[in-house]
Symmetry: C2
Amino acid sequence: MNQDAILQALVADKLVSAPGSARGRLLKEAARLFRDDGYERTTVRDLAAAVGIQSGSLFHHFRTKEAILKAVMVETIHLNTALMRAAVDEAEGDRAKLRALIQAELESVNGQTGEAMAVLVFEWRSLSVEAQEEVLQLRDIYEQLWLEVLGRLHRSGEVSADPFVVRRLLTGSLSWTVTWFHSGGKMGLSELTDQVMLSLGLID
Amino acid sequence: MNQDAILQALVADKLVSAPGSARGRLLKEAARLFRDDGYERTTVRDLAAAVGIQSGSLFHHFRTKEAILKAVMVETIHLNTALMRAAVDEAEGDRAKLRALIQAELESVNGQTGEAMAVLVFEWRSLSVEAQEEVLQLRDIYEQLWLEVLGRLHRSGEVSADPFVVRRLLTGSLSWTVTWFHSGGKMGLSELTDQVMLSLGLID
DNA sequence: CGATACCAAGCAAGCGCTTGGTTTGTAAAT
DNA sequence: ATTTACAAACCAAGCGCTTGCTTGGTATCG
């Protein structure tokens, strides 16, 4: 199952907006603006201009500005949960599964959905407390994927540190790559993945 | 040279405001509010109320709201550069120096100056481009400390991955601890440091 | 014909910051 | 020891602007 097929399945289930639809384009522009300028600095007028409508017309699609932020986050989580599960299912062996997870997360952060992922990481606080809890619950689903793989690698002695701690250290280091890594450079995503595995002592 | 002595030396050099002074208290409250609510969400009225003055009176101490953010960041960098240098100087051997750097950064992020450090990490974009460059230059000074130690560990074969990459991965994982690690819990800062060293394969 | 998507205009509230004047702390002059 | 002088710290009020969002009406299309 490739990335396009995964996306289409999610669209069919109405978990993610079709990229071509008005709602889909709006969310894409929102993700870009929220990442570049931050949620608070982005005005509804900026966002409306980016999609070529009047600011008031936004509220035909979303009840509030916060609902747009939440939708960006929720759809991103749904997409990435599916991508992670596919990555982990395709790889054989726990080292390979971990490598697949790392590469998948790096692709999410630095690839096409990177804008939305960055928003997910850095725009937390702009969500109301209730919305935060909702998003957090969704996120836990794919955290479980990591913990299973890391748990087995820990029991086999290949990873000495505590799985929970390792996952959290990785969350930080992988999402932080958005601030310094640029896919166009001389190091590619695959090499970066290797470097992460190396730094964990999982390649010799 | 302990932490208090370092702080006093910086205050004497006017690189950091005295914690008891009006300016010092203002910056401390600003750091707390900027971390908790974000720079954009924090209003000058919130900040003024937190230090017990009128909002207009803030502008007697700082020309603009942004100048307050910048001051928080600049003073934090000065303080932490000094702390890092002390940590690295006191430790003997490169593994011990790396451990000292990690622990010092974890203390900065999660300890007394944690609020300001979180601001430094997460409130980037709210600074004007010129101010960003200024802050970046100051930060490079202490990045050099890390690269020297990591470079030696790399040449000796103790750290296989590229020093630049390792430093950046560590920047992410260490600053991210602010979102999940709480010093009050059952794992202390020293144990967390051990876990980081473990995850790098630097303890057996 | 009815639903969906949009525009034009603007409201109420909140924003950073300014202004003009008063209090407070300090130190030299009497 | 008291007065004088002056700057630093602060208050009360509010200006001009931007913000998220609302309203009432108009295209567009199956």
